[in-house]
């Protein structure tokens, strides 16, 4: 048997390692792309339909940096003074993205740097972000338990549903918009929202810690109606819960999720490629089919059956509120404080 000296062994293994590295096309040619995003089903869908389907074939090595939306927004805001940020693309809800845009943390986007930019539906077009998906926070209810289908936001304060109204703790911004509108306020000033939240407390509304908990409470009949995105209603409907949803006659809170490229991204061209990939019809259709969110580009066509289940009629679309994002940004901490004090105090 041939004996291998320590020196020979090290030389052999180093050479083997080096040649393996050189031989790997992924490592030799890949372009790194760090995407700040949510995890779970959303992250998996991004990975399957955007990262692996569109960007890996172009030679990108996509790394998802998973966190909650506020830490991500905070990163965009606090890192903006640094020469290099930690993300090449960041995904956020429109009001969080708006805060990052207001401090000048985001790159300007247009058809010049994002070829699919011109396909964006006009009402969703913005200068520093692209819309990834959209839906609306509507009234989702158990069809078998709520005998009279709700048509107005007032249904959420109907004493008949005492103890059966569910509220997602995460959606306090949308919930308080409903509370304001139900009490004579608007989404531009959130006036009288406090009164509405107090009304929920009096009706023993159930505060639920996560979207999943809302789904479970609807499934078990612990709650009969709630405010949540129509997309979620669709997903839960698909899983077998007897649900329906309505855009109240007073309107509903839009749920728009956007993506942007930080000005100090390490790989800005990769971030821009990601923006373009998010807007491709295939990715958009996959989000509609899997999660029930509507496409944000004219070029994405979903089946009429799916459109009927997740889409909004023209009248419903026109009723969606256009919240004052500056107001929300400036008052979000105060809104959360009011929400917590009334429902948790």
């Amino acid at each position: 048997m041939t004996k291998l000296s320590r020196r020979q062994f090290l030389a052999t293994t180093s050479a083997a390692g080096a040649s393996a590295l050189l031989a790997s096309p992924a490592l030799a040619q890949s372009k790194e792309l760090v995407v700040g995003t949510w995890g779970g089903t959303f992250g998996d869908l991004l990975k399957a339909n955007v990262d692996e389907a569109l960007l890996v074939p172009q030679g990108y090595d996509v790394l998802q940096e998973i966190s909650g939306p506020v830490p991500r927004r905070t990163k965009l805001i606090t890192e903006r003074m640094q020469r290099r940020g930690s993300m090449d693309a960041a995904l956020l809800a429109d009001f969080d993205m708006h805060a990052a845009a207001r401090v000048g943390a985001l790159e300007t986007l247009d058809a010049g740097n994002v070829p699919n930019y011109d396909t964006i539906l006009p009402f969703l077009k913005k200068k520093t972000s692209v819309p990834l998906i959209y839906s609306a926070h509507v009234i989702v209810y158990r069809k078998d338990l709520v005998k009279t289908p709700p048509t107005s936001v007032q249904a959420l304060w109907d004493p008949a549903y005492k103890g059966k109204i569910g509220l997602s703790d995460f959606l306090y911004t949308s919930n308080m918009a409903y509370a304001a509108v139900a009490n004579g306020g608007t989404v531009d000033n959130y006036a009288n929202a406090e009164k509405g939240v107090e009304g929920w407390k009096a009706l023993e509304a159930k505060l639920l810690p996560s979207t999943e908990a809302v789904g479970q409470a609807l499934a078990s009949g612990d709650i009969w109606l709630t405010i949540i995105s129509a997309a979620r209603g669709y997903s839960w409907q698909k899983s077998g819960i007897d649900l329906a949803w309505c855009v109240p006659e007073e309107g509903a809170f839009p749920a728009v999720y956007e993506a942007g490229v930080p000005k100090n991204a390490r790989h800005p061209e990769a971030g821009l490629a990601y923006m373009n990939a998010l807007l491709t019809p295939d990715a958009q259709v996959a989000f509609a089919e899997k999660m029930g969110y509507l496409p944000t580009v004219k070029s994405a066509k979903i089946s009429p059956e799916l459109e009927a289940r997740i889409g909004f009629s023209e009248a419903e679309q026109n009723r969606l509120w256009t919240p004052d994002l500056d107001f929300i940004m400036e008052n979000q901490a105060g809104l959360l404080d009011t929400w917590n004090r009334i429902l948790k105090g």
């Binding site: 805060a99 810690p209 979000q332 959360l336 004090r341 948790k344």
Partner: protein, 276 residues
Amino acid sequence: MAKLVLPAGLLVLALLGVPMLLMLRYSFNSFDPLYLMKEAFTFGNYARAVVDPYYQKILLTTVAVALASTLLTTLLAYGPAYWLARMEGRWKSKLTILTMFPLLVGGVVRSAGYMALLSSDGLINATLRGLGLITVPLQLLYTPGAVVFATVGIVLPYMILTLASVIESIPRQVEDAAANLGARPGTAFIRVLMPLSLPGVLAGSTLVFILCMNAYATPLLLGGPQFQMMAPAVYDQFARASNWPFGAALAFLLLVVTVALTTLGSSVIARRYKAG
């Protein structure tokens, strides 16, 4: 000797001391919704944290849960700790490892386990329903009782191991002498073993109390959104309200109260030990 402490000291200073000083500085800044905070030197955040009845209630709940959990843990740990300490042979090391076993699993995972136990379709409710004892599930999850129950379950190994090591160092002959002089087992425990094991109670309860005061995952997952304790409230300010200065002030308030109560408790137990 001082040189030996230097590397560890520097590491703690760099990884704990410096970030804490930075946080302390943040706590005097003022909140800005656009830029997160503005350079300032205000005591406003501390004043709000101390004066506001909403945060007073959260602090009181935290102290009450921590005290209840520490007391219950001490009571529950004494028996197993004594048994473990006085055990001999190969089972002793196996049972010690078994006691430590839950510590190998993270707090979040253990809390998730308690959720599976206490939820409306969890193990307890399913068993009671199966036995025909209930028809409507009991509300066990999202209650203060659930938080105390799970917290005790999580911190129990710390107390058992700390108490066991102290009881082990108490000579067995002391108990024999008490018995020889006519003391019943209960009397021997209260008048001999317990006073002698007070240093263990002190160390264990200090450790457990600090863990309970700073509990995050358990109150959040088992108490639900309406049950408020300090650590989740601190997180709320940082991660939801983006109010770093107020979040930092709340964190330091929690630190000061924990240190003050721990010092007070230690001095009371130490006095009793000396008196005994």
